[in-house]
């Protein structure tokens, strides 16, 4: 351990010397640089400290964040309400299982599997989720707001019916096992790999996959939202006719965003499946879609940060409450009567939605943005 720090240390000291000194020192003065630094160190080091329970909770939150970013582009940025997000998550999760799994018999169902390499299956699953969104896009392109919400509601019911009944593909009620992801000969499963004397199981390994996936997803979405397409999307949300007059192809954009958001959902589905190690149809119901909507409303509509914050809030809250149910006031341990942690978390995020709508119209993400703005007012000179 000490060896590696010694090697790394000179790198740090020599780095600022050649070129770009001005911009670099400038950056060094900003608190943001340190925040990013500390956050990345923490995120990278967490698997070495946290229990599997917290890592798994974190992974659920990361997957939810990816899905929520997708939904936020559709609902938050473009103003298209979708209740069918759970359906696309299911498409991603199940496609991965079908593409990567081997044909086998399980629970009385003869399961079909194509046995593709798992990384390829993961990519194809995301594309398939996009394709499913594409099939729906003639409708998504024409309907707006609440009307689209109602139309997409149908997707959940159709989806769950298929999941329960297409036994040879989905494994029916009990779902099917998820083959562990394997990348360059490294498998993200439960076989223990000891890194720095810490045993790495699937959660520890997947943590890094989740981080990379979330980072890429967030950067891509930020690019889209900050660029030309993002402005077009906001224009459609704010005034559809004006956007059309200015030359934004409204229907095409709506359809396109719908496809993109389903691909995000597909990616989230693949990650969730990997964490669950088994896909269960029960999960991909209407409650899940509503939770995603709650995430983006609580976090903040229309921004990537909002989606991520909201996703972490909504998916970690019940876990935290359950974990500490013994020591929290008012919340009682299950089985002793009184308010169960599951119920308590529902009340809490119900209250959070109301509070956010009333007092923080920009969502929780606003809280975070407000601070740096105050501390660095001269930022406007920069690009």
């Amino acid at each position: 351990m000490s060896d590696t720090t010694a090697e790394a240390a000179p790198l740090v000291t020599t780095a600022p010397a050649p070129g770009g000194a001005e911009s670099f020192t400038d950056r060094l003065r900003r608190p943001r640089t340190y925040a990013v630094l500390i956050a990345s160190v923490l995120l990278l080091a967490l698997p070495f400290y946290l229990d599997r329970f917290w890592l798994q909770a974190g992974l659920f939150a990361m997957a939810a964040a990816i899905g929520a970013i997708g939904l936020n582009m559709l609902t938050g940025a473009t103003g298209q309400l979708s209740m069918g997000h759970a359906f696309f998550l299911a498409v991603g999760a199940y496609s991965y299982c079908i593409l990567a799994g081997e044909s086998s018999t399980e629970n009385g169902h003869a399961l079909t599997g194509l046995g593709l390499p798992t990384w390829l299956a993961a990519i194809l699953a995301v594309l398939l989720a996009g394709a499913a969104g594409g099939v729906f896009s003639p409708i998504a392109g024409r309907l707006r707001g609440a009307y689209l919400g109602i139309a997409t509601l149908a997707l959940i019911f159709i989806g769950q019916h298929i999941l329960f009944n297409a036994g040879s593909l989905t494994g029916g009620y009990n779902g099917r096992a998820v083959p562990p992801l394997s990348l360059f000969g490294f498998t993200f499963d439960d076989t223990e790999v000891v890194v720095a004397a810490v045993p790495f199981g699937s959660s520890e390994k997947l943590w890094y996959v989740g981080l990379v996936a979330l980072l890429l997803a967030a950067l891509f979405a930020r690019g889209v939202l900050r660029g030309r397409p993002g402005r077009a999307m906001n224009a459609i949300r704010d005034h559809r006719i004006a956007a059309g007059v200015m030359g934004v192809p409204v229907a095409r954009y709506r359809a396109g965003v719908f496809v993109l958001s389903s691909m995000y959902a597909g990616l989230a589905g693949v990650l969730l499946a990997l964490v669950f190690q088994r896909t269960v149809p029960e999960y991909f119901g209407m409650i899940l879609s509503l939770e995603y909507l709650a995430m983006i409303v609580i976090g903040g509509l229309g921004s990537v940060a909002g989606a991520v914050v909201g996703a972490f809030f909504v998916s970690l809250l019940p876990q935290v409450l359950t974990h500490y149910s013994d020591s929290l006031p008012l919340v009682s341990a299950p089985g002793t009567g009184g308010l169960a942690p599951g119920e308590a978390s529902r009340y809490l995020y119900g209250a959070a939605v109301v509070a956010v709508v009333l007092f923080l119209p920009g969502g929780l993400a606003r809280l975070g943005i407000a601070l740096p703005r105050v501390t660095r007012p001269k930022k406007s000179g920069e690009k």
Binding site: T4, A8, A9, L11, N107, G108, A177, R278, G335
Partner: protein, 416 residues
């Protein structure tokens, strides 16, 4: 440039942080206490921790509550007697509300801290963690589900007859009572999914053995009105109906059949009844010609086991309903206790020790009418079913009309 510097700093700090982790492999293996008893996860010198993954806020809320409270009652009594192996039993309860994410999170949370699970509601979730249980965890899990799909694992052990065997016994009862005969049609209304489909396997087997024809009616757990199903079955001319659904569906089916003058016997699996049904409009019809099979005596039975449990449960939880979940929970917990006792005698309180001890349990649980045999992981613990009939005068609303027995067809039935 600055990006590279930042990366380097992050890498250096990470490596430093990582080096001093407390999660690094410590002696997590087996230990021995003063008395020479081997212990493992979930067992300390003074306590044995057991996990309970239940549903108190979801679709199986009423079952989950009864089962959990019965198990808490059992723990209280065992601890009052001094515990097992000089250790107090401790239950850690997690309510997952029938949500897969919470169920799996609950398992992950409790698994490192407990010896095994005395209750796990939701067969899809048990299936989801089966790989982990069979692979590395190896803790004993007693699911509150009776699907044949759960059989086969040496660590996940079903207490009682599976739905397929129960259904065969039910149809056999109808044959014995001369309600149906060779060549007749029987209807089967079943839930999509594990429970219903497993029961359907049973009714098909029984029908083949007895020369009957099964008319299938698949329903969803959200379907509460059985009018269409009754009409279809009436049209098909069935002589009896099997219900493998929830209490609500059973009540609707029996009620609608009676109201439309369709007088057939209706039989249901253990999950197709709740004592609260007798207070509904379907009550009188249910009292007339409805039968339930189960792997335990009902809570209202005058036998020693059930009556004592009913008394104790009622004094501990005076406001709660007495139903068959109480017996099921108690039975599962006491079987876990029996395995712990044997493991203690063998001086091996590790997970492996408890698994091994369970394999030696035979002929257990007779005070609740059915004898369980855990020596074969591939078979359910019993093939016997008690046939019961609703009765408004006893607590729990059920009385026995035929004691535990196994039909010829159920004996010959090969699982999977």
């Amino acid at each position: 440039m600055k990006l590279r510097a930042l990366t380097a700093v992050v890498a250096a700090l990470t490596v430093t942080l990582v080096g001093c982790s407390g999660k690094a492999t410590e002696g997590k293996g087996e230990e021995q206490d003063k008395a020479g008893i081997k212990t493992g996860p979930g067992v300390s010198s003074s306590t044995i921790s057991l996990g309970v993954l239940t549903d108190m806020t979801g679709v199986y809320a009423s079952l989950g509550k009864s089962v959990t409270q019965a198990q808490q009652l059992w723990v209280k009594q065992i601890n009052a007697k001094g515990g097992i192996c000089d250790r107090k039993i401790e239950l850690t309860v997690r309510d997952h509300g029938y949500d897969p994410q919470k169920a799996i999170a609950g398992y992950t949370e409790l698994e490192p801290k407990v010896l095994g699970f005395a209750q796990f509601i939701g067969s899809p979730f048990v299936a989801a963690v089966e790989q982990r249980i069979d692979g590395k965890d190896k803790g004993l899990v007693l699911p509150q589900a009776w699907s044949a799909n759960l059989l086969g694992s040496p660590y996940i052990r079903v207490v009682g007859a599976t739905y397929d065997i129960e259904t065969i016994n039910l149809i056999d009862h109808l044959l014995k009572e001369k309600r149906i005969a060779k060549g007749d049609k029987i209807g089967h209304v079943y839930f999509e999914g594990d429970y219903g489909e497993n029961a359907l396997t049973g009714s098909k087997h029984a029908a083949k053995e007895a020369g009957l024809t099964v008319v299938e009616q698949k329903i969803k757990p959200t379907d509460n009105d059985m009018t269409a199903q009754v009409a279809a079955l009436k049209q098909a001319g069935v002589k009896a109906v099997v219900v493998s659904a929830g209490p609500r569906q059973a009540a609707s089916l029996v009620g609608v059949a009676a109201a439309t003058g369709f007088n057939v016997s209706v039989v249901g699996n253990n999950s197709a009844y709740a004592p609260q049904l007798l207070k509904t409009q379907a009550g009188p019809a249910l009292l007339k010609d409805y039968y339930i099979a189960s792997s335990t005596l009902p809570i209202g039975d005058p036998g020693d086991g059930p009556s004592l449990l009913a008394k104790q449960y009622a004094s501990q939880y005076p406001n709660d309903v007495l139903d068959n979940g109480v017996v099921a929970g108690w039975t599962a917990a006491s079987i876990f206790g029996e395995a712990l006792d044997k493991a203690c005698d063998n001086k091996d309180l590790t997970r492996e020790g408890v698994d091994k001890a369970l394999l030696t349990i035979k002929g257990y649980g007779t005070e609740f009418g059915v004898s369980h045999d855990f020596s074969d992981p591939a078979a359910p613990s019993t093939r016997e079913s008690v046939i019961m009939k609703p009765d408004a005068t006893v607590p729990g609303g059920l009385k026995v009309i035929s004691p535990a027995s196994v039909s010829e067809a159920a004996k010959s039935f090969t699982l999977k």
